[in-house]
Amino acid sequence: MSVYTPWKKKRKEIPKISGEEEVLKESWERYEEMAFLWIWSWVMR
């Protein structure tokens, strides 16, 4: 739930990945989590 758009869903929007999928996944999820922190910081105060 700390990820609003899960990688699984995002992956379907990318027709082809020429490099390592794991690199893209890690980066995607990290910034999803950071977005979660920022959004929720406005009620966690």
Binding site: M1, S2, R30, W40, S41, W42, V43, R45
Partner: protein, 404 residues
Amino acid sequence: MKKSPEELYNERVERITTAINLKTPDRVPIMLSFSTSFMARYGGVTVQELMYKPERNAEIREKLMEDFPECDTLGGGSMMITGPVSDALGQVLYKMPGKELSPHVPFQFVEKCNMRADEYDLLIENPTEFLVTKYFPRIFKEEWEKGPTRAKIAIIKGILAQNDYTIFWSEKRKKWRQEFGLPEAGGGFSKAPFDVLSDTLRGMRESCLDLYKRPEKVIKACEALVPYCVKYGELPSLLRRRETSTRRELRPQVGMPLHRGCVPFMSLKQFETFYWPTLKDVMLQLIAKGFICRPFAEGDWGPNMKYWREVPKGKVVLKIDRADMFKAKELVGDRVCLQGNVPPSLLEVGTPRQVQKYCKKLIDGVGEGGGYIMDSSMSVNEGAKVENVRAMIRFTAKYGVYRR
């Protein structure tokens, strides 16, 4: 011989950890947080400067570290609620010093309802979507009033400003560890689900009425918020651990200010129905993941004290505002580490001798056998006399040594 910062750091970590584990450390740990207004006065600046210029804020913090090396941690001073972030977004949750308020006073929370009663289902179904689509346009003036382009730019500015602060404080924390041997008490932050609902969403008036008008929605909303409160509490430590996995730290801790759960706000029956079950759930989940919970029982939690027997032993540090510390020690001192509670009134109008007398009582009674941390009952307040703060710290460092 003078101890190195690394030795001091390890000594402090050991002292705090032992107290949290309800055992007897070398002396009573001292963990203070300072209010913005006290820090401003101490550093000879306005509160506005403190909230807009992090470098001034850090300088004053370092002065406090130099002047009071007996402190085992040192917090407060509004590191995350900041002027630049507030202005970028035009947030309306707080009135800020030097803007809507005098430059010399701390920011003020504006009590307001930011969620309609017919929006409970959306909150329950998808809390994050509710926050982004309904709540943000109500609390960020730049978003709702100034048109779509300015709204998008406002969000970008807000995030960039926040990022500046996050990087700034992260660097400072590293420096304070290296130069002052100071561990960090924070790490994560969370709240009771009912407080999430009541503080900034429904507001005090509406959330109180909801307890009678739509109790089942309140319960469902609190239950829906539990996983978000857990995730928010653990995420900063998880993100940080990925970057620095070899550092020796205090066990990761999650601060939790408890705002509206005690008796003046709700009856014990309501507390048992609406507040405690989901707060306890959040804490138990965090504890199961290896965290220490640090709830701050704001207000008088005396009548609610017995509930703290339900948390696992040695996993919670309960900072107490106005409840009787000695009764708390008797009732829950074998379950939770107690922290506090030198009254702000005493620090403001008392004498150093009276402060020492009060601290002696706390150390003798609550500190007996360990499981106690010296602190003010809130953050050190604006009017606190420096000589009284000094008396609290120096007396504890000397008298609070345990004889083995």
